[in-house]
Symmetry: C2
């Protein structure tokens, strides 16, 4: 019964994830994986002190063991793999600074690294094993996101759903699952996969819950599979599987698209602005319009952001944001910050999202579906804005590749600066600690056995007090 199904795309994808070896991964892909990992640690640290993340950390303390081999990065406590994955998964997505893969509209880092790091620490895996597991998670999750398609993303948060499979792939690779057990892990992961966009309408706290649970549930699926717990063999493409229930345009061919030849991880974009990725193309275009035409905020009467449908679906419900997090899903607020400051970073959102001039600017921004932009999406995220100035000029600008995309990527210096900025913003690590930490993070691939990354709690507190 099993044999006759070996040929289906989900099984091929599982076999690829189970069989991936470090030696198979091109050096530039390994280097990019390390870039993405270091970038991720900044996002994970950025969650410190953020209410929903701290509530989840409290839940982990009350339900989990009092310690363990696995690190919760925001407070340097330790727990079992399940809770480390849960809290690190939540914390790394809340600042909206974690990476994104354009074609799948999926945030891989926030679900893959929490699961891989927790199990690597629990099993003292090598850096090579860790990187291999992370690559497996990216390659699988991105293809599952592409497979589920645009119809899925209209209602479901792909990072929550495809993310559960991605985390299972990374966790399963770290546990050394066979191809068959990996497929079982996919089955148990897919039948737990969840995450709905409805929370955006209220600015509710669900987004970090989605990533935390995707990481934890994927890890759970892999651990269960390791012990012989079976899952549906065709959870992705079966008649009562994920696509059947949650997509109307699923394309099974995407699941196995050039496995081992195309490295989807290397297509992943770093986030530059601290907002929802759907705002970035227009933000970059407005930045360009502003620079090219020497426009100050007061010069601008209105902005039309020409966008793809997905931007309207996700950002449309946010009319008058009532929190920093919700403001990151407001096109008007994001463009207002760009107009006012020339940037939309953590500090700008935190300090100015509710300012009267930003709110007034927000109400002069509208989104309009653009045929070219929509057609190119999600493979390419083109930014176009049309600006009317108060003195009656009409200005347009476009960017073909937003900052952070592979063709317009961040250098290692820019990544370091981003991590330092995020850690400083949240207070999760002192500059002197980062001086020591960052070289260790860049060298993660050479680690013989991955232990805790951050200085221990006591030491850290002393260190920070001394700053």
């Amino acid at each position: 019964m099993r044999d006759e199904k070996i040929g289906h795309p989900g099984a091929e994808l599982a076999a690829f994830a189970a069989g991936l070896r470090f030696e198979d991964i091109p050096a530039d892909v390994v280097a990019r994986a390390v870039d993405l990992f270091v970038d991720w640690t900044g996002s994970a640290l950025a969650g410190k002190g953020v209410r929903p993340v701290e509530i989840m950390a409290g839940f982990a303390r009350s339900m989990g063991p009092g310690g363990g081999a696995c690190e919760i990065l925001i407070d340097r406590s330790t727990s079992s793999p399940l809770f480390a994955a849960l809290v690190n998964g939540a914390s790394s997505h809340v600042a909206e600074q974690d990476d994104v893969h354009n074609g799948s509209v999926f945030h891989p880092a926030a679900v893959v690294f929490p699961a891989a790091l927790a199990l690597a620490q629990a099993h003292r895996a090598s850096g090579r094993e860790f990187i291999t597991a992370a690559v497996a998670g990216y390659e699988v999750g991105i293809r599952v996101g592409e497979f589920l398609g645009r119809s899925h993303y209209k209602i479901f948060h792909t990072t929550g759903t495809a993310g559960t499979i991605a985390a299972a792939a990374a966790a399963g690779r770290l546990l050394g699952l066979s191809a068959e057990a990996m497929l079982d892990a996919f089955g148990s992961a897919g039948t737990q996969a969840a995450g709905l966009w409805e929370f955006l309408r209220d600015g509710a706290d669900s987004k970090p819950l989605h990533t935390g649970k995707a990481a934890a549930n994927g890890l759970t699926a892999a651990c269960l599979a390791k012990d012989g717990f079976t899952g549906a063999k065709q959870i992705l493409e079966g008649l009562q599987g994920m696509a059947a229930g949650m997509s109307s345009d699923a394309d099974p061919a995407r699941l196995t698209d050039r496995l081992g030849a195309r490295w989807a991880l290397a297509e992943t974009s770093f986030k530059f602005h601290a907002s929802c990725r759907h705002t970035h193309p227009a933000a970059d275009a407005l930045l360009k319009a502003r620079q090219e035409n020497g426009l100050a905020m007061a010069d601008i009467a209105s902005v039309t952001a020409r966008v793809h449908q997905g931007a309207i679906d996700v950002l449309g419900p946010v009319v008058a944001p009532s929190s920093v997090h919700q403001a990151k899903f407001s096109m008007g607020t994001t463009l207002g910050l760009i107009a006012a400051f020339g940037r939309a970073g953590m500090n700008e959102f935190d300090q100015a999202y509710a300012r009267q001039d930003i709110a007034a600017f927000r109400d002069c921004v509208r989104m309009e579906l653009d045929e070219e932009v929509d057609k190119a999406y999600p493979a390419r995220w083109i930014g176009k804005v049309a600006v009317e100035t108060v003195d009656g000029r009409h200005v347009e600008a476009r960017v073909d590749e937003p900052k952070g995309d592979p063709g317009n990527t961040l250098s290692r210096e820019e990544i370091e600066a981003k991590v330092r900025g995020l850690a400083a913003f949240s207070g999760a690590a002192a500059p002197a600690e980062l001086d020591k930490l960052l070289p260790r993070l860049w060298a993660i691939g050479e680690s013989e056995a991955i232990g805790t990354l951050m200085p221990a709690g006591e030491e850290a507190r002393a260190g920070m007090a001394a700053e």
Copy 2:
């Protein structure tokens, strides 16, 4: 912003769950809740020794704390509420003997009692608080199941999805959530809700995972809400909510159907046969045909079970079951056991599902969509069979209410016998232990502070050795 949404059905349902008082619940509903609780303990004990359940219990041991106030019934160990809910939720659904609500096609006990019991034990809640919480869980979960409708059930295991909200309602009521926090809990529960039927095709282990995770995720949602974690206000009926993503025939009016006047808990059926509920109407009808016509197994040439579409959707994929659990989703196997033994209980499935005569009989059974049966479903589960005998007779039989339905219910003696049978089957408790345990279970409503139910581990082992 919140005020204007108070009137929507999901908010009304949350307010009902948060505001429910023991005094509001009619005495016969309280008595039925106790019946359902005692019935549930039998199912929870029945999971002992079942591979997927034991794997999940091992996962709980490796990820959770070494002890706690909350009991894992199969092995009498203790843990935090999260893991007790997870393992008890899994164990109580695996024998296919837990209760079912016809109209919602939802198994309330397996998700409601694990969450309610774990938090009651953690907070030393009274029996009245426990019963009130359980009733809240049943009333909410059943209405959510009805709301999601038949289209949902075609792909999704309603007990996993609606069950997450049911568990959140029970847990939230035990934690004393306000109406607003209860709605937050619904939001966090709904955005975690999952469970796909795809596993049936392979006879994979996902079913107990669905109930365990529904109980644990609903409990998580309530605990987070207690600490101020917000959720989508319209996770059920919103434009990007559960119904939008996972149903095409959702009816929001069902969410608030006669709240406080109609007690859906009292409509819940006990399961008599140890198989999927979709087999029961036909099983009872064949039993009747067998008795009325004095038919032995060897007399029967073929059976046509006239069924509703849901039975075909769920049982159809099971052609040649390869495990006891999968056999419980085989109409042919179930009718074969009825034909051979006049019953389809735990022992019959365990010992005979793969027997050659049962397999041969199985292949002579077919399901046929019946207009009357399908129209009455899911409010009523009518059973109809047509039997062709080897000597050329044509025999028909029908039952209008399968054994265990409210109009054909189990007495307390029958429930006790069922619990004893399940505990004996799995070896989870010795008869002498049940002599002491059962009176305590029947009196749960009068408990001042709910502690552990089972004798402690050591004591129990000694007790069982002495039998």
